[in-house]
Amino acid sequence: MTPALSLEKISVTFTGKSGGAGYTAVKDTSLNIADGEFVSIVGPTGCGKSTLLNIAAGLLRPSSGTVQVFGEPLAGLNARAGYMFQSESLMPWRSALANVTAGLQFRGVDAADAARQGEEWLERVGLGGFGHRYPHELSGGMRKRCALAQMLILDPKIMLMDEPFSALDIQTRQLMENELLELWNANRKSVLFITHDLEEAISMSDRVVVLAAGPATRPIGEFRIDLPRPRDVAEIRMTPRFLELHEQIWHAMKEEVLKGYAQTRNKVPA
């Protein structure tokens, strides 16, 4: 079966400032995501996880290598993918409802029809009755729900998520994780989920890919998560199998995390 998303030998080198040496963020990375699979990428901060996601979205061109979406080479933006950003991505001048329906508006969907679908999606992410509020009138968690609905209303085949819940407090975060899993369970899409939180990665995914510390990051380990579904992200953390997997993956990651930490420390001018 053709994978939903396939990255083939991707390398990304950013040109250095004022003719200096370029910075290679990602080197020779290959990654396949099957249709309906939930894959998480974990790695130390600053290792190039987001770069990889931007490549998959088509927001960034790789220096070498190819990206294929359902077997077709990607040209321009990835129209089959929805992207959920780490930082605030809602348009602050639009109400929650207008934000959710933005994608439909861009596609020329009839306004009344779009509003109806928008209300439905707001309801589904627990924001029923909040449609008229502006982003600054919503809490951080509500803004994330709104961004989630904004992405899901377009029914993307692939969901790209860049540490979407990292700015939330732990309770809200687990709530959102469970809601995301529930939505995903109802209509299985391929998910590429970036996080630096190993527990989040294990509790949600079918597969966890560990990246090396940058520069020139590449996958250094891949782990199949055979925990039963449906899962509750808070409860599953207590099960022996979870702890076993956590132990395994952490063992593989530890060295890279320390390496990444040492690098950031060395960057601080003495």
């Binding site: 979205a57 927001l59 933006l77 129209a79 993918a81 929805g82 992207y83 950003f85 930082s87 605030e88 991505s89 809602l90 348009m91 602050p92 001048w93 639009r94 109400s95 933005a102 994608g103 508006q105 861009f106 596609r107 502006y134 982003p135 600054h136 961004a147 904004q150 992405m151 377009l154």
Partner: protein
């Protein structure tokens, strides 16, 4: 003692200023301590009661309305034309790096130039009617709006922009639904200054040469050393400016509802 509201003190201060003004200028009330002649104070500073009388007569006879109407017309036209030009060119240069690089020194030079000296040229070009004043106001308003829009376009959050692109917005939709709202919010934040500048352009233009408008009234009175009428004109202009500012605040509250206010609390 019960705490008196702020507006009470504001009104009290206003009354105090006029009472002080009255006592210091009306001949014979307070012995002269600076001028050698007791009539000189009122010659230089006018007398509040006479000033109010001039204003009253203006409004009672209806003489002022035609002048006010002209000044407001000039202000409104200068504001609208200047804002539209600033918005259009600001968007254009904000989105085109090449054009903004080429035009950068010219924009800076035009902005640095004291534009009031263009007034005589505009009079030659557009005559003594309202259009020479509108032109002067436009040159003042344009740069305020232009710089704000330019900044607004440059500072659109890249995340919001990429998000809109991922949601399927094409180039013209990005312009209409992302750049334009972002830029207009910057225009509105400069609204107070730009309306004020349009007003300045109109009055200064009238003052330098015209046959109508409040600036013209002031200029005329000055020619005959009628200081009371000059002050009356100034007071009417100040009142007008305050009303304009109030109207802008109303418009702002309506249009910038999506902006976070400081320390906003829920009201349901």
């Amino acid at each position: 003692m019960k705490k008196l509201p702020i507006w009470f003190w504001q009104v009290a201060l206003l009354v105090a200023i006029f009472v002080g003004w009255h006592l210091l200028t009306v001949p014979g009330l307070v012995p002269p301590f600076y001028f050698d002649d007791e009539n000189k104070a009122s010659f230089f500073f006018g007398e509040p009661l006479k000033i109010f009388k001039v204003i009253f007569v203006w409004f009672a006879d209806g003489e002022i309305y035609a002048h006010l109407w002209v000044t407001l017309q000039e202000t409104a036209l200068a504001f609208v034309i200047g804002t539209l030009l600033g918005l259009g060119i600001g968007l254009w240069l904000g989105l085109s790096n090449t054009m903004s690089a080429i035009l950068d020194p010219y924009i800076k030079a035009l902005n640095a130039m004291p534009r009031v000296i263009l007034a005589p040229i505009f009079m030659v070009w557009f005559g003594l009617g309202i259009w020479s004043k509108v032109a002067l106001g436009v040159t003042l308003v344009f740069f305020i709006v232009f710089f704000n829009v330019y900044q607004g376009v440059k500072e659109v959050s890249p995340v919001v922009l990429n998000n809109a692109r991922m949601l399927g917005a094409n180039a013209s939709q990005l312009l209409r639904f992302v750049y334009l709202p972002s830029a207009t919010s910057w225009v509105f934040s400069s609204l107070h200054t730009s309306v004020g500048m349009a007003f300045v352009g109109a009055v200064v233009g009238e003052y330098l040469g015209s046959a109508k408008g409040v600036g013209y009234l002031i200029h005329q009175a000055e020619g005959s050393f009628d200081i009371n009428t000059v002050f009356a004109g100034i007071l009417v202009l100040t009142l007008c400016a305050l009303l304009l500012d109030f109207a802008v605040t109303l418009a702002e509250n309506k249009l910038l509802k999506w902006r976070p206010q400081q320390a906003e609390t829920e009201t349901t």
